[in-house]
Amino acid sequence: MLINEFLLLGAVLFCIGVYGVIARKNAVMVLMSIELILNSVNINLLAFSQLHNNLDGNVFALYIIAVAAAEVGVGLAMVLLIYRNRKSISLDELSEMKG
């Protein structure tokens, strides 16, 4: 197989995830788009691991999976806190830091 098949799949998923992060207003949907981005990075790491016949890429992929789990846990806790305080998880309304 060509390595580019996997790399291009990763690039397409990454760009779809970036679009989701920019376009979505609902905080849970933004977190889902971030998961898409992390998955595309994992595909790239494993493809390079296979290309160079080296296990380090697999180890990095496992670490990314663990960090993604931690990130979702903290992120959803923050979303719940925002929802409890404001009865809404729309990111457009979180504008106190605007000057």
Partner: protein
């Protein structure tokens, strides 16, 4: 350029089917007007990613992907959707006012990445998969990567405690 005889046809057909499935799922994640449908599409993308890991001969990572993402992370997402009382049906205001800005940004980024990848890795072939044995992988984690592994354990512990502290009602 690559001639067809160089390619492993069965693997390529499998890759193409799974990749199309994943891209359709990913587009549905960012396009759907129903939060629960988007979450289920995300499950499809993650399952497809696990299948791609198997094609890349990384069986342990594939199993971990199924356990952690499809098993744990998706349950967290569904809890998040339910606890923030998203409506189960269609919603009209999931997108920003300026959502259309995302399309040129994503397309520009995709164009640059496709150009660079094709320029850089034109027709590099993956060797026919040397199976990654889980024993070698664990040797790699617990010998050269032991310190990052410990750090990661503390990250997970901190995340768990942080999530509890943030989300508890007092």
């Amino acid at each position: 350029m690559v001639v067809a005889a160089d390619l492993n046809v069965a693997q390529n057909i499998g890759f193409g089917i799974i990749a199309a499935f994943m891209i359709a799922g990913a587009i549905n994640v960012v396009r759907s007007s129903n939060v629960v449908h988007a979450a289920l599409s995300l499950v499809a993308v993650m399952a497809g990613a696990a299948a791609q890991y198997l094609l890349l001969a990384a069986e342990f990572v594939a199993v971990t992907q199924v356990l952690v993402y499809i098993g744990a992370v998706m349950i967290l997402f569904l809890f998040g959707v339910m606890l923030t009382r998203a409506r189960v049906g269609r919603e009209t205001d999931l997108n920003n006012r300026s959502w259309a800005l995302g399309i040129p940004v994503a397309l520009l980024m995709l164009g640059v990445m496709v150009y660079v990848l094709i320029d850089g890795f034109g027709d590099d072939h993956l060797e026919p998969a040397a199976q990654v044995s889980t024993a070698e992988l664990s040797d790699s984690i617990f010998k050269p990567f032991l310190l990052p592994f410990w750090a990661l354990s503390f990250v997970l512990l901190a995340a768990v405690i942080g999530a509890i502290v943030l989300a508890r009602k007092d």
